[in-house]
Amino acid sequence: MNVTYTVFRFDPSKDKESRYEAYQVPVREGMTVLDGLLYILDNVDPTLSFRFACREGVCGSCAMFINGSYRLACQTQIKDLKSDRIKIEPLPNFQVIKDLVVDLAVFFEKLEKAMPYLVAAGALPEKERLQSMEQRKQINEVIDCILCAACQSACPQAWTNKDFLGPAVLTKAYRFVGDSRDGAQRERLKLVAGEDGVWRCHSVFNCVEACPKKINQTVAISRLKRKAFVQKLKFWQRDGATNGRKVG
């Protein structure tokens, strides 16, 4: 059986406009969309450009727009697409470097704005800190993020506000805010509760739909919102603005 790959092509060094190119790909049992792209590269058209590495859905290299959905090419079985036509485009809303390769520099720069590292709460013991499985469960889902940038690409807020940190970056922030071992909640919440942070999220859930690791970024962001809000209230409370009522 053959499927037809229709692949987005654009080489800014010579093309004025992007185009689509069709390739016939013979399908064998167990073949993924990435396998098909590698087949094209090795047998049909060596000029095709795309990113890949682990081919098992853990490195985040091959997030693409496949038949109108955000997917990791390596994690997508051709037969699961239930179609003999597969349209492959680069992640929308990023600048295209060539073909299916987009410029992720902006994304990784934004990541640095969320204080993306654990800050120890108090002095460190000689051995490991204790953490219960129950406490760890708080972050069990968000630590699965592989920084593939699919959610970042799918977020309508990120389309219109170039400075919006975006779902992946905010999820990373929540990964620490939700970690019982972290001691920098206040600073980090301040960073993500700014103008380009959590309040720009209107809970459209595009990110959740786009995520190949099934992470619920919108929930993570709403938890950040709640914590940021409570922190604000505590600030007011300390200033007497809540008339002594207990909040949070």
Partner: protein, 566 residues
Amino acid sequence: MVIHDVIIVGGGLSGLRAAIAAHDGGLDVGVVSQVYPVRSHSGAAQGGINAALGNAEGGEDDNPERHAYDTVKGSDFLADQDAVEVMTGMAPGIIFEMEHWGVPFSRTKSDKIAQRPFGGGAFPRTCFAADKTGRFLLHTMFEQMLKRHIKVYPEWLMMSLVVNDGVCCGLVGYHIPTGEFESFQGKAIVLGTGGYGQVYARSTNTLINSGSGMAHAYHAGAPLKDMEFVQFHPTSLIGSNILVTEGARGEGGYLINKLGERFMKKYAPKVVELAPRDMVSRAIQTEINEGRGFDDSYVLLDLRHLGKEKILERLPEIREHSIHFVGVDPIVAPIPIQPGQHYSMGGIDTDFDGQTPVPGLFAAGECACVSVHGANRLGGNSLLETIVFGKRSGEKTVQYVKGREWKPVPEGVFQYALDIVRARVAALFQGTGQQEPAAIRAEMKETMFFKVGIFRERKLMDEALKRIAELQERYRHLRAIKGGKIFNLDLCRAYELRYMLDLAEAIAAGAIARQESRGSHSRLDFNKRDDHNWGKHTLAYPTPEGPRLSYRPVTFTKWQPEERKY
């Protein structure tokens, strides 16, 4: 030209840990990586990282010395015992540091870091974070690097190392997104470029593991050590050869043949499925070869008796991979598995501070051979190796850089190196031959898996070496490389292929010469270990006629060779 005190090549665990150590030691560091660091192959490691913490039930009596003994025995007495003791001694501290940096380890009932049994270990010693340990270690290491604002050059491919007057002083890089060349100058260069899995068919490794970093060191004057020792992991998914962690057996999984037997009882009566990897891979292959496999190609890994809850908590990604890639949910059906190439025990010759024989050139992790794994690596020791020796290499560069008077390297040295690389690339674009690089690569991979594989014999290996020579000759007649300057995969893959063939040749040559069976090197024509003649490390040096081999004694401290029984 880009200039830093230290240039690290590779954004995986070894490279990033070396970068952090050098940075913390006061040096200015640049990390050159073929991919964004979080894409590195370290992130594919699943089952865990060994350290004698004694956290698990039944593990209370564990200690670094026992960890060292297990490692030495696992290595079939080829590991250098002083290096092993350094590694196992540092292991607990390394784990605590990674915990302090934020790794979300799974936890015991008493809230400590959880540990599971792994093959060849006397105690449950493998610290884990579900079945995603490598990924969490890599992401945490990346976060620590971001915290320090260490400069990263992502998507730069190393094209050659630069050596001046016998001292390594930099490299030539190729920026994949733009096609530009640049020289990188450093007083010390640390390679953390990983293994060569893609030299073999049926590899569990990421598709970018060409091993070309090892080959660049080889050509820069650092010998390759013990290259004939290639680890085949017992359990990879049929078809894709995606890894199924040893943790699946550590948690209690069974291996089953076509007759429904737990066949490992025959091969390792005491530890059954938890024998070291070389033994389990041979056992599986024997079952298949003798007609007790399925379709002459696989056996089953049965996890069903572990129950849904344990599978979901401890092995969630194994379940997802099985569902995605073979359409099997291990909660309800056994997983079809076969051995796959997994790891290189051999690599660039280093001491236990990462120093190669070339001054200024350091290496750590899978690309290096210290040797702590000897003829067979124990599961859970590779993540440990990356961090221990990444750290030690980085720290050593601090001493190396600060302890010397530095004269500027003549500009012409880098210009010359750049010119050579540019000429090689130009020649690839102007190729007039008919040979397809993809065809050469595919033939190399098949040749290595089937002729220098799990079971070896002279006749097949001679054929392999001859075939590699033919492929090298065909490589000289490649068709012209196509495409332009931007993100040219055809160029990158063809450029690296030459170096992969060099590694294939070194592996085959070392394997033919070693007339014994030891660890992963299992010869049908010499089926016993021969300590008298072969208790020594192989060193391969490049010559125009192929690798020249010499040998070096193994370092013993506490343990004399004994028969390896489990």
